[in-house]
Every structure is written in structure tokens, then in C-alpha cells.
Amino acid sequence: MLKGLAGITAAFVFGVLAGDPQDIPPPKENYDEETLCVEPVEDMRRQHFEYILDHRDKTVVEGIRTKQYSLIGCIDCHITPNEEGVYARYSQETHFCASCHQFAAVRIDCFQCHADRPAEAIQKAQESDTSVQRPVQELRETLELSNSAFNR
């Protein structure tokens, strides 16, 4: 009983720490001065997936590329470098999306295909590579680290 209680307490404390906003770099800019995000923040916390789900079909099928509910827009604004200039990955709890998803025990697969960092972060990571064909061994290693949950 005591053990179970300790476990729950630990999980709760860990959960709160995982979502600690102090560890997460602040967004780049406010989309709107009044609502702060693309919709009021309270609304975004509860409904953001509805907005991007609706928008993704419009983008893929109809070619509508407005910025308001675009996933690239979310990532561009919310994923900023920390003090050391490092962009968090979705596999880390300091990633804006992951910080909450980990706390709420939500598992999404957006970032298996979509970039979890803005274009400049990916470009920065690639600058060390001299060619498009990246060293195979190095790529395999990074893949196994970050995608261990999805590996065969």
C-alpha cells in the first residue's frame, strides 16, 4: 500500500517536473498580442489537435497553406534553442510538445514523419555533413537512439 502510494507520488512529481515550463525555451513571438497563440491559450491547450487535424487535410488535398494552423508554424514558433543553442527533439521532455504529451500520457505519431524542429535547426545539423548522402553508420546510431520505441 505504502509502496503503491510512493509510486503514485513519484509519478506525480515526475509528471510535474516533466512539464515544468521553466525548462522549456519560450516561443519565438506571439502570433497575436491579445490571444498570444493562434487561438486563446486555454483553447489551444484543449483543442490544438482539432485545429491541426482539420488543417492538414486542407493542406494535403486542397493545397491550402495558410499559416494559422500549420504544424510547421507551431514548430517554427514554439521550438526555440535553449541557452546553449540546442533545439530539443520530440524524444526529449524539454521539447514543447513532448513536455505536455509526456505528462498527459499521450502518444502521437506526428513526428515520425514531420520535422520536430524548425528548418534552421535541421540545416544546422546538416551543415556538418559535406554531402547529401550522410555517413550510414552515424545515421543508424542516431536513429536507434531517438526512435527506439518504433524500432523493429
Binding site: 492538414r56 487535410d57 486542407k58 494535403v60 488535398v61 486542397e62 493545397g63 491550402i64 497553406r65 495558410t66 499559416k67 510547421i72 514548430i75 517554427d76 515520425q112 514523419c113 514531420h114 520535422a115 524548425p118 528548418a119 535541421i122 545539423a125 546538416q126 547529401v132 548522402q133 550522410r134 550510414v136 545515421l139 543508424r140 542516431t142 536513429l143 531517438s146 526512435n147 518504433f150 524500432n151
Partner: protein, 252 residues
């Protein structure tokens, strides 16, 4: 033999401007500021693509060099198609073909990619509706609905599609791709929607000095591709299948 008569071009120009005039009049009659007829400029972000455009490509195989693969590297770079070191399963959106005529010994070199058919077999066979043809003629895979069954890969007469076998990382923001989905040439749809009016492969071919690839709107009679096709004609590969491809070849 419509290309041998000098007068043909003149006549068709007249017909064209007459039709354009009619279209413009129609547009004016509906509402001020609303035009039914528009040229292939960048569309506003909030506007859906329409069948006013039909994007296509013209490949001049006589200008295509046998030992050049700039289009392939440009495509890989633009869309983040990094090799995983196993060429058999690496994604391939565009590839180079060298075809030798045994009779004459002449080698024809050409790039091969998704032909963006008007009646695409990949769309016919897709069980989930993930394979689809956008209003402006670009054939795409909606990876949100793709279950990776690969029927489309078998149905495609051009062997244009690839399947992603392994988890990927560092995909480019404009080109999301991942394990378990089929993918193919998107005709640089992100560039088209941005209004670049060109593809990465065609840009690379031009900067190599070959200019064998020409991207444009087949529906716009004033576009360079339509003018070239009207003047010199073009061949659709496997036109016997009646797919009406958006990619035309010259010199084959």
C-alpha cells in the same frame, strides 16, 4: 501534319485570343474583381488549388546528357531523400534511364518519375483513398491515410513509387515522410504552392546548362511548356494505356 503548315499557328493564335476574350468578359460579368480566367501566378495561401491549372513537365531527351544526374541529386536534396546505405530500398522519386536502340546504337537518356496521369492507376487501386490526384493535376499520396499496402507500386506502369522501410529522422519540414508509407515525385508541390513555378530537378538541369526539363502549366496556352508542345509536339510514355500523363517527352 499540322506542324508543316505555316498558317496553322496564326489561326490557332486568333482562336486562342478570341476564347481568352470571352473568358475575360465572362469573369467581368460575374463580379468586379472576380476572374474566371487566370494565368499561372502564385495562388493566395487560403485558396484551394483548382483545375484551371494542370501542372506538367516536358523532357527534351536530346538535351539530356547520358552522364549527368543533376536532377536526381537536386530532387534528393530538395526533399531530404537521404540514403540509408541500401540502394535496393532507398527512396527514388526520379531516376535516370539510358535506353539503347539496338538497330542504330543510339542511346537516349532521360529522367523517369511519376508521370502525374490524368487517370492514374495508383489512384484506382488504392484501398484507402490515400493515392489521389489534386485538382491541379499533381498525383500525391496522403500519408495520413496510406497504410503501406503497396498496391499502387504494383499498379504504376512507370515504377515511380517507393516504399519507406525504415524509421527516418531529420525530414525536412516541407517534405514529411516516414516508415510504412509509399511516396513518389510530388512535382515539388511545396514549391508550386509557393509560386516558384518550377521544380528542383528542372532548376538543376537548367543550371547544368542542359535545359532538358521544362515545368509549366499545360492548361495555359501562353506558358512556355504549352508553346513548346504546340510547336514541336511531345510523346507520352505508354500513351496506349490512355492515362494522359502530365509528363511529355521529346526525342523518343
Amino acid at each position: 501534319m499540322r506542324y508543316t503548315l505555316d498558317t496553322t499557328e496564326e489561326i490557332s493564335t486568333e482562336r486562342r485570343s478570341f476564347t481568352q476574350g470571352l473568358a475575360a468578359l465572362g469573369g467581368l460579368a460575374i463580379a468586379p474583381g472576380v476572374f474566371l480566367y487566370a494565368t499561372a501566378d502564385a495562388k493566395p495561401d487560403d485558396q484551394a488549388v483548382s483545375s484551371q491549372q494542370r501542372w506538367g513537365m516536358l523532357v527534351d531527351t536530346n538535351s539530356c546528357s547520358e552522364d549527368c544526374s543533376a536532377c536526381v541529386s537536386a530532387c534528393n536534396e530538395e526533399n531530404g531523400l537521404w540514403s540509408l546505405g541500401r540502394p535496393e530500398t532507398d527512396a527514388q522519386w526520379i531516376r535516370k534511364l539510358n535506353v539503347k536502340d539496338r538497330q542504330t546504337g543510339h542511346v537516349t537518356s532521360m529522367p523517369m518519375m511519376c508521370q502525374h496521369c490524368e487517370h492514374p492507376p495508383c489512384v484506382d487501386v488504392c484501398p484507402t483513398g490515400a493515392s489521389f490526384r489534386r485538382e491541379d493535376g499533381i498525383v500525391l499520396v496522403n500519408k495520413h491515410t496510406c497504410i503501406g499496402c503497396r498496391y499502387c507500386m504494383m499498379a504504376c506502369p512507370y515504377k515511380a513509387r517507393s516504399f519507406i522501410h525504415e524509421p527516418l529522422q531529420d525530414q525536412l519540414p516541407h517534405s514529411p515522410r516516414g516508415k510504412g508509407c509509399v511516396e513518389s515525385c510530388t512535382l515539388c508541390v511545396h514549391k508550386v504552392d509557393r509560386g516558384d513555378n518550377n521544380t528542383a530537378c528542372a532548376e538543376a538541369c537548367a543550371s547544368e546548362g542542359h535545359e532538358a526539363l521544362l515545368f509549366g502549366d499545360l492548361n495555359d496556352p501562353e506558358s512556355e511548356i504549352s508553346k513548346q508542345l504546340e510547336k514541336h509536339g511531345g510523346t507520352q510514355i505508354r500513351s496506349d494505356l490512355g492515362l494522359n500523363t502530365g509528363v511529355y517527352y521529346q526525342g523518343i
